[in-house]
C-alpha cells in the first residue's frame, strides 16, 4: 500500500511540473509587457521603479531562470495581478472557489445518489418496461451536451414556468438559506443529468454482473430475503468499480462548470475563466489553469487511493 501511494505520487508530480512549464511558456507567448502581469494597469510607477521591479521579478533573465523565479513566486502564492482590475489573482480565484465547489458537490451528490438508485432498480427489474424507459432516458442523458441541457432547463423552468430565478448566486439583499437553495437547484440538476445517466449505466451493468455471482445464489439458497441479498451482497461488490468512476467525474464537472456558470451567471471559477479569456486577462487565465490542474491531479490521486482502500482483494506491488 505504501509503495503504491508512493508510485502514484511519483507519476503525478512530474505531470504537475510539466503543466507549470506549459502554463509558464504560454504566458510568455502572450503579447504585451510581461511586467503588466504583476502590476495593476493604473499603478503610478516611474520608469526607474518599473525597471527595478523587472530586475527583481527576473523578467530580464534568460527563459529557464525566469521560469524558476516565476515558479518560486507562484509557490508563495504570487500568481500576479489581474490585467483588468489589478486584483491579486489568487484572491480573485479564491473568492470563486466556494460557489463552484457548492455547485459541483450538490450536482455530484444528486447525480451519484439517484444514479445508484436507478441503477439498482434497473438491474433488479432487468428487461422490464421500467428498465427500458430508464435505460433509454440515460442514453439520451449522456448524449445531450451540458450547455444545451442548461439552455433548455433555463428556458422551461425559469423563463416559461418561473419556478426558479434566471440566474445568479443569491437575490441581492437576501442572505437566507432558502434563497441560496432556490438559486442552486436548477443549475445543479442540469449538471447532474449526465452523472445520473452515467452512474446509472455503470451501476446497472455492475449490479447485473454481481447478481449473477455464485455468492448471491448461495445467499438466496440459504433463504435470505431478496432485499438484503441485493443490498448487502450484490451492491457492496458492485460498488467497487463505481467508486473509481466517480473520481473521473471531477475533471468533467469542472469542464461543465465553465458552461453552466456562464449560462446561469453563477459567480464561480468557470465563469471567471470564460470572462478572463474573453478579456485577454492572461494572468488570471494562467492562474486558473494552474489551480484547475492541481484540483484535477489531486482528484486523480484520491481516486487511485480510494480504489486501493476500497477493494482489499487487490494488491499493488
Amino acid at each position: 500500500m505504501g509503495r503504491y501511494i508512493q508510485r502514484r505520487l511519483m507519476i503525478n508530480i512530474p505531470v504537475l511540473i510539466i503543466i507549470t512549464i506549459l502554463s509558464f511558456l504560454l504566458l510568455q507567448a502572450t503579447p504585451g509587457d510581461p511586467l503588466s502581469a504583476y502590476v495593476p494597469p493604473d499603478s503610478p510607477l516611474t520608469e526607474a521603479q518599473r525597471d527595478a521591479l523587472r530586475e527583481r521579478l527576473g523578467l530580464n533573465a534568460p527563459l529557464p531562470e525566469r521560469y524558476l523565479i516565476w515558479l518560486k513566486e507562484a509557490l508563495q502564492g504570487n500568481l500576479g495581478v489581474s490585467a483588468r482590475t489589478g486584483q491579486d489573482v489568487l484572491e480573485l480565484i479564491g473568492a470563486r472557489i466556494g460557489p463552484t465547489l457548492l455547485l459541483m458537490v450538490t450536482a455530484m451528490t444528486i447525480g451519484v445518489v439517484s444514479g445508484l438508485l436507478l441503477g439498482v432498480l434497473t438491474a433488479v427489474r432487468r428487461n422490464t418496461p421500467i428498465d427500458m424507459l430508464i435505460s433509454s432516458g440515460a442514453l439520451f442523458g449522456i448524449s445531450v451536451p451540458v450547455y444545451l441541457a442548461g439552455l433548455v432547463g433555463l428556458y422551461i423552468f425559469s423563463v416559461r414556468l418561473g419556478w426558479f430565478p434566471t440566474g445568479g448566486y443569491t437575490t441581492p439583499g437576501d442572505t437566507g438559506f432558502l434563497d441560496r437553495l432556490h438559486h442552486l437547484i436548477l443549475p445543479a440538476l442540469v449538471i447532474a443529468i449526465q452523472y445520473v445517466a452515467s452512474t446509472m449505466r455503470y451501476t446497472r451493468s455492475s449490479m447485473i454482473e454481481a447478481l449473477s455471482q455464485d455468492y448471491v445464489r448461495t445467499a438466496q439458497a440459504k433463504g435470505l430475503a431478496f432485499r438484503p441479498v441485493v443490498l448487502r451482497h450484490a451492491l457492496r461488490n458492485a460498488l467497487i468499480p463505481i467508486a473509481t468512476i466517480i473520481g473521473t467525474y471531477i475533471p468533467n464537472l469542472l469542464a461543465g462548470a465553465v458552461f453552466i456558470e456562464t449560462i446561469f451567471t453563477w459567480p464561480g471559477m468557470g465563469r471567471l475563466f470564460v470572462e478572463s479569456v474573453n478579456a485577454r486577462d492572461y494572468p488570471v487565465v494562467m492562474g486558473l489553469t494552474l489551480i484547475l490542474a492541481i484540483i484535477i491531479l489531486t482528484a486523480n490521486l484520491l481516486t487511485d487511493l480510494t480504489y486501493a482502500i476500497i477493494d482489499p482483494r487487490i494488491r499493488y506491488d
Binding site: L254, A255, V277, Y282, L292, I296
Partner: protein, 300 residues
C-alpha cells in the same frame, strides 16, 4: 479475398460447385443493417450531409445577408425558421452551419486520427523509451478536460474556424493513439509481421504496409465517435464566443443569442433549430458508431 464469389473444388464426393464466399465488407454491411437504429441514423446523417452540401440550392437566402427591415421575425413562407437579430434567415444559417459543423468534425478527426495513428504505431511497434514517452504524454492530455486546454490556448491565439479545427484535432489524438498502440502490441508478435522482419523489410514499411491495415477497423469506429465529440466541442466553444466567429454561421454561435434571457424568451426560433440540429446529429453519429462497432468486431 478480393472477389465476392469464387469457385471451390471439393474433394471426391462433391462435384464442382459454385459457393458464395462473402467479402469482408459484405459481412460487415450485413451485420450493420441488422442494427436498426444505426441504419435509421445513417439515413438521418445522409439527409444532414445532403443539406450541408446542397446548402446554396436548398436555402433561398444568403446566410449572411442582413435585412434590417425584417429583424426578429417569426417563421413565415419566406423565412421558414424566421430571422435573427440582424434579419438574417435562420433556416439558411442552420443549413450552412451544418457545413461548418461537419467540416470541423471531419477535419479535426482527420488530424487526430493521423497524429494518433502514427504515434500509436511508433509506441506499439518500437516499445521501450519511445513507448513510455508517448504513453505519459497521452496520460497528461487525457487527465485534462479538452475544453479547459482549448480555452487557455484560445485566450492567446484568438478564436477562428481553422484554429478551432486544429486545436480540437491536436487534443483528441490520445484515444486513437492508445487503440493503435494496443493493436500493434499484439501484431508485433504475429507471424506475418515477423516474417516481414525476417526478409528485411524496413520498419516503416512493416508498420504502415503490413500492420496498419489491421487497425483500420478500430480507427473507423473511433473516427465516427470522434466526429460527434468534435462537433459538440466546437458548438460549446462557439457558444462561449470562442470558436467559430460570426458572420460564419455555426450551430454553436447560433445558440449564443440564448445567453440573453429576453432573447431566449422571445426568440425561441433563433436558437432552438441549432440546438435540435446538434442533438439529432450527435445522437445519429453515435448510433452509426455503435452499428459500425458491432459490424466490424470480428469476435461477434
Amino acid at each position: 479475398m478480393t472477389e465476392s464469389t469464387g469457385t471451390v473444388r471439393y474433394g471426391s464426393r462433391l462435384t464442382e460447385r459454385q459457393v458464395r464466399i462473402e467479402a469482408p465488407w459484405r459481412i460487415a454491411a450485413r451485420r450493420f443493417t441488422r442494427h436498426r437504429m444505426a441504419v435509421f441514423s445513417l439515413v438521418v446523417l445522409t439527409i444532414f450531409a445532403i443539406l450541408a452540401i446542397g446548402a446554396p440550392v436548398i436555402a433561398q437566402h444568403d446566410p449572411s445577408a442582413i435585412d434590417l427591415r425584417a429583424r426578429n421575425e417569426g417563421p413565415s413562407i419566406d423565412h421558414w425558421f424566421g430571422t435573427d437579430r440582424t434579419g438574417r434567415d435562420t433556416f439558411a444559417r442552420t443549413v450552412y452551419a451544418g457545413r461548418v459543423s461537419l467540416l470541423v468534425g471531419v477535419a479535426s478527426v482527420v488530424i487526430s486520427i493521423g497524429v494518433g495513428a502514427v504515434l500509436g504505431a511508433l509506441a506499439g511497434y518500437q516499445g521501450g523509451a519511445i513507448d513510455n514517452l508517448i504513453m505519459r504524454l497521452t496520460d497528461v492530455m487525457m487527465t485534462f478536460p479538452a475544453i479547459i486546454i482549448i480555452l487557455t490556448v484560445a485566450a492567446i491565439t484568438g478564436p477562428g474556424l481553422w484554429k478551432t479545427i486544429f486545436l480540437i484535432g491536436l487534443l483528441n489524438w490520445p484515444v486513437p493513439c492508445r487503440l493503435v498502440r494496443a493493436r500493434f502490441l499484439l501484431l508485433r508478435n504475429l507471424e506475418f509481421v515477423q516474417a516481414a522482419e525476417v526478409i528485411g523489410a524496413p520498419d516503416t514499411r512493416i508498420m504502415f504496409r503490413h500492420a496498419f491495415p489491421n487497425v483500420i477497423d478500430v480507427l473507423i469506429v473511433n473516427a465516427t465517435l470522434g466526429v460527434a465529440a468534435a462537433i459538440l466541442l466546437e458548438a460549446g466553444l462557439s457558444f462561449l464566443g470562442l470558436g467559430v466567429q460570426a458572420p460564419t454561421p455555426s450551430w454553436g454561435n447560433m445558440l449564443e443569442v440564448a445567453r440573453n434571457i429576453s432573447a431566449m424568451e422571445n426568440d425561441l426560433w433563433q436558437w432552438a433549430p441549432a440546438g435540435i440540429a446538434i442533438v439529432v446529429c450527435v445522437i445519429a453519429i453515435n448510433f452509426v458508431g455503435d452499428g459500425l462497432r458491432e459490424a466490424l468486431d470480428p469476435r461477434l
